[in-house]
Subunit: 462 residues, 4 copies
């Protein structure tokens, strides 16, 4: 029997994200945290020597998971097991003075979360960068726009990318707000009063000073004031739900790709050697888009889990959230990262079947122009609802190709067949402000990505 791997980390997430939540890296991060504390405690006058600090520093990278697991089986306490291991390696017993486990883990986890959010921010910017390329590229690719999955009016492919882009920009604004205010939990002890830290350092002021030094060391502007053993789990919920919010624009676009690919209009990309289906050699499946639609399902489930912790704390804290957070926090970040990475691969490999797009458009145009015709009727003096009724009658009983002939057979209809045909001769006439909108969104994207992204390197998908 092999070690069961985390399928999200090993199949989908990028190396950068995996590194943030890597179990060994986390232990090293914890040890750095301890050493930072030791140095500050020494400065504050606690009986800690340079030799002590150096003893810990020397063994910081010696991580032996099996040994730690063995300790945990005795103590049934994971943090304690890691402390014992670190002490044993260093041959000292100086860390953990005036602190409780949560003083370590709650802060370390917020640091991981902050790093994860920053990476998602970077991925979002990269995604926007690639979206903008497609907005420009397909600015004048006129096509059938659909509502209720039925041909409705003319739009452009560029605008479809722009709509995705604007939704993602909006989510990114919200993500930035969260990153800017994410706090550290601070050194608050087992019920949040900071009692042990104050005892060991001397005063409330000394503890506050140490908290400030740590926040500064780890790059945080805010530290919470009054917590229990743990920081509020509504913060975790906001984090996980933010990942889902970020994923929404790519996921809706992936759905549309699946629909367009099914109609033979576009392809999400087809690499040399790729197998569409093992049994159906001709097929070019929207495999990556489907994957994105699956990944957001995972994020919805992780949101359910995080939501279940929010508002469910007992007194100053419990560990019923522990097993949940062990799963939800890394896994939600792996998925969100993998989803954006998959989407960027699509944005890079995306292609269109222009002939099919044009064929569909010209076939549907008589129908797509019905609102134009309606407007023309109203301008010609007909009541809006009467005109609507008459157009509907012929549109729902005729195919696109004989719709105009049928409509103009109606005596009261105010336009001639020639007028109708003239009305639809140029698809660009029916596209409203699609192009202006796309350009405006493109500009906004350029503004936020400028200086942040200049090119995007993608690892190959599996």
């Amino acid at each position: 029997m092999s070690i069961t791997p985390n399928v999200l980390a090993t199949r989908y997430a990028t190396a950068e994200m995996v590194e943030i939540f890597d179990p060994i890296n986390k232990i090293i991060a914890e040890r750095k945290f301890w050493i930072t504390i030791l140095k500050l405690q020494k400065k504050a006058g606690l009986p800690i020597t340079d030799a002590d600090i150096s003893a810990y520093e020397k063994v910081i990278d010696k991580v032996d998971l099996a040994s730690i697991e063995k300790r945990e089986k005795v103590s049934r306490h994971d943090v304690k097991a890691r402390i014992e291991e670190f002490n044993s390696l260093a041959g000292a017993e100086k860390i953990h003075i005036g602190l409780t486990s949560r003083d370590l883990t709650e802060n370390i986890e917020l640091i991981q979360i902050r790093d994860g959010l920053n990476l998602i921010r970077k991925r979002s910017l990269e995604t926007l960068f690639l979206l903008e390329k497609n907005i420009s590229k397909y600015e004048k690719t006129y096509m059938v726009g659909r509502s209720h999955n039925v041909a409705a009016q003319v739009t452009t492919l560029g605008k479809k990318f722009a709509t995705c882009g604007e939704e993602l920009l909006y989510s990114l604004t919200s993500l930035n707000e969260l990153i800017n205010r994410l706090p550290l939990r601070g050194l608050k002890g087992p019920v949040g009063t900071g009692q042990d830290g104050i005892s060991s350092l001397g005063s409330v002021k000394d503890l506050t000073k140490m908290e400030e030094a740590i926040a500064s060391e780890f790059g945080f502007e805010n530290t919470l004031t009054s917590v229990g053993q743990i920081y509020p789990r509504s913060i975790d919920f906001e984090v996980v739900s933010k990942l889902l919010q970020i994923a929404s624009a790519p996921s809706s676009f992936a759905t549309s790709i699946r629909l367009m690919a099914g109609a033979g209009l576009v392809s999400e990309g087809f690499k040399q050697g790729q197998v569409g289906s093992s049994a159906m050699p001709h097929k070019m499946n929207s495999r990556s888009s489907e994957r994105i639609n699956g990944m957001i399902v995972l994020l919805r489930g992780y949101t359910t889990m995080a939501a279940d912790l929010a508002g469910d704390q007992w007194n100053e804290g419990d560990v019923s959230c522990s097993v949940v957070r062990r799963v939800v926090i890394p896994d939600a970040f792996y998925v969100a990262d993998g989803l954006l990475h998959t989407f960027m691969t699509i944005l890079t490999e995306f292609g269109i079947f222009e002939e099919n797009i044009n064929k569909e458009l010209s076939e549907q145009l008589p129908f797509l122009a019905t609102t134009q015709i309606l407007m023309a009727c109203v301008k010609a003096g007909m009541g809006r609802e009467v005109a609507h009724e008459m157009i509907k009658k012929y549109a729902t009983t005729n195919t696109a190709s004989n719709f105009f002939t049928a409509l103009t057979s109606e005596i009261d209809f105010p336009l001639s067949l020639a007028e109708l045909n003239d009305l639809i001769k140029n698809p660009a006439d029916f596209v409203g402000s699609a192009i202006e909108q796309s350009q405006k969104v493109g500009e906004s994207i350029k503004k936020v990505t400028k200086g942040e992204v200049s090119k995007v390197d993608l690892k190959p998908l599996i």
Copy 2:
């Protein structure tokens, strides 16, 4: 058979919230929207007269739900049914020119959502205002702090309120950010290109001008640029998940009240005539706290629903979300509003059994001082882990009352029984920065509520 009422609106939400989502009010709001458009269209030169406008204005309040329902049964289109009704009442056919149903509903719903969020913001401020009263009132009420539901260290009741207050303050910051950027969807037509509006008005610029006028009329700073038929449902998801985030602090506190009440320490309040349990006359149940814990469960379910719509749009839009949003949006707001209202009632009626609080504290104090003792041992030169092991040994095999005697029987133990008893003589010595933290949170609350809340009126709970 009676009309089945919405149980959330009729039992729990406040009148102000019910008004925002009231079905008749919504129809009136739609009519106001139409009239605003008519006026702007007239100004833009469309064939609309003052008499037309006046005809609509006269019937704005004549809402006959049965008549509208009858129309909908024929057309199977709810917005269309309401338009026909309004036209029929006004004896005109001028609304809806150059617009599609969603140009109405998507904007009206964002207006309702914005109003709902503002009311939740108001309720949050009122809640904070009442929390601050309790923070001050119980600033020096020393009590047992618990982690894992087991007595851990001394804290204050004031700090418990402060912890709730800080979590709510944090969520409120996040809510404010959302309110500040919530956009209107604008007049974009059936696939988002604005084609019909542009046709009817003349130019892209004219439509943009009209969109700006509408945004200004309804108090929005942002309008979306590129959408399909609908605005992105990730916005709805952010809204609903924000309500859950706001509810988290009250819900965790409600859980703690249930725990404290079970131990006979506090009561969430007991009104004249209230029946604790129909079969057990002596009981004083934490009925409102339990209700809050139930209400957050509802919010979790509504979050699941909203999450399911995010990232699931087909092309330029579909109505698979319609039935969902009809339920989720009002119901989530009713619950969030009812939850805050219930919590404020608790904050107003909350009381303590001081004798029991003190009794528990003095019984547990020898145990609660173990970290203090640990510190004292370290200061006296003992290794931290050795001391920890020794204290644990006696603490887990003795009751609180004979713990000190047993501990001092150990030869290597560095403190005397007298020193130990001296160590615990004053609970205030063990409370760390609980009081400073509470004051700091209290100050922050006063800062945000100043000028916003001066008193809170509550309707009676059922």
Copy 3:
């Protein structure tokens, strides 16, 4: 401001379902339950007279919701308020002896749930009945089958209905199992020991006898033995999740209708006077199918809520579930009922555009035959993977129309163009056991619906 109606009950559910959960009917059901108990208590020798019973019986239908609500505002206890009202109307004070509120409500709710499940069972059978009609009707309607939304192989429309039918049959089996074992909670008192009932009646045996009489009176075969104040909420969870399971087959089929309608192949039905879109008169939207896909989203949210109660009981019971169950139980039944009703309307009004179906099929046939060609190559001695590679090469670089020509240009390819064209001349050759499968599912449906459904009456959709 109007009374806010429950939108699910008033817009979507059938009258039969609304009646089951009607608030007034529930009060009458409770009163019947009290009277049943009174009669049994009288028989058991308690001081209850025929005049007492008659006094209650006379007022059973006098339900004044406003008066009850007024009482509840004082007592803050809904059941107590209804008892006081009933006593006051009867001028007696004999109900509620030896019982607690939950002895009433937990049983009444299980009766409602059982009735709701039976109605869903009936609706499922009606749905199967209509599915079978369509299975037969479209037995030989050959069409493109798709996987990944891409044309894959030939299938029949009848088989699509059969696949839906078999999934629903499977879910129905599961529903039947649940209905058969759903228990009453029994008369167990406030902590489940039955203490009060035993005190009032005399012995454990007497209480058991009364419980059996009640179960028999209300048509239950099982009564729980050991509960707390409430029956296990995992039962509610099973109920709600069963509704979602039942809804799955219709919902997947609705998705396929939306896809097929988007390609112009089928229509879910178009009634005289129906408005497809208020702005686009020609449109025939899959409005009901979209609604079904929305309704299952609601069921997912209600499942989240019910899941949150399961495994979350405190000691012998709390009421944190009360507000949740008030919403979830009726609302989940309204949605499930409305979903099946909407689906049956589709099954009744469903129509096809046969020409388009045939056109798509003949266009795609060369591609759909690729597995046939692969088989033929293997039979002709070519290695499977080599053949797969060669076919894929030409299939992915050619349109359907010139695929065969291109493929036969390859020297090693073992079949001639004539052989290839011969291979695809009859779509029925490619349909595998689609027809046999459909017939087999059709037979299974007839077996379960026989004697249960002979025709289906539908109320008009709004």
Copy 4:
């Protein structure tokens, strides 16, 4: 950077469950499936030799994950990659004839699920076995029963275990029903028509025969008739929701343990060397019970994910579910298994603080007897509601210790102080049928576990 492990498989699940979903075991299972097919195909006359079969059999255990991953990076198709690897190892190309990937994976996964369900069934029986021991052991341990977390009436600790036992028995019945009808998907090809299998074998009948042989080989009684590429995902949903249903009884009991432990009444067990809290040496946390309450949160999230797939299939199938099922199915089984294993550890190590239980009971007894007193008043001729009001008045304004004195000071009160004290002298008088109920549940458990479990071996918890 290390391989990120699946934290659920490595920390919580038992070796037996990990084995079922082990990635290498799955590949071996797939290979066995191929070989089974090969043998049946040979028997059916396909050009397959004994040497071919033997070539595959020889390499069945040679699983090189890195080599497979390399292949997948080219083909972007995981099943194809594993087929190529197996072919390459065997030096043959005979598997996969007349089959598509899903003919393999859909069946293999149902086999895994069936095995997983059977293991959960075994764990449930083991859990019941241990519950029964505790039911007997604590049959006469009288204690305070609580509703709303407030002392309500007398119960027994044995009954608490019995209530958990009956809920689990009920869920187990439901699980058994599911196991008994879980079907294989069969060999249906890419759109479910079985076209390729029929082509390769000759007739519908031949394919049916092969499906039956496979079902029999793998121990299934049912095979689905009409599916698309995949079996209905409502089956997955039923499976995952069943795991949650099974977990509910342990989770509610774990909550009660946390509550009882917080009051010093019981301990979930304390092993030699275990560290309660790293900072608070005296603490004995309900760490395992908290873990169970966290684990059910995970199951709720996996239920959300599985629910999202149910009813969301596009046409004959897509792979948007693929990434979801890769996570949900194993992870939900790991959690459910770990949860039951954790619960069994508690059931084994559970202990009580009898003195505290008795102390609480005698303190609360005057209050717990209020329903008894109420009954006595009614028997003495007082109206029920009048008596209730009077008892409530004194119960809510007095402590337990002076309640009786105060009550008997009321002139109209029909009982004397002596009568009251006599009423409460024996707690067993107040316990209703707690003991009979416990015995009855105990008997039911013995009946279902008989011949299935005789002892339970537990791995140590970490």
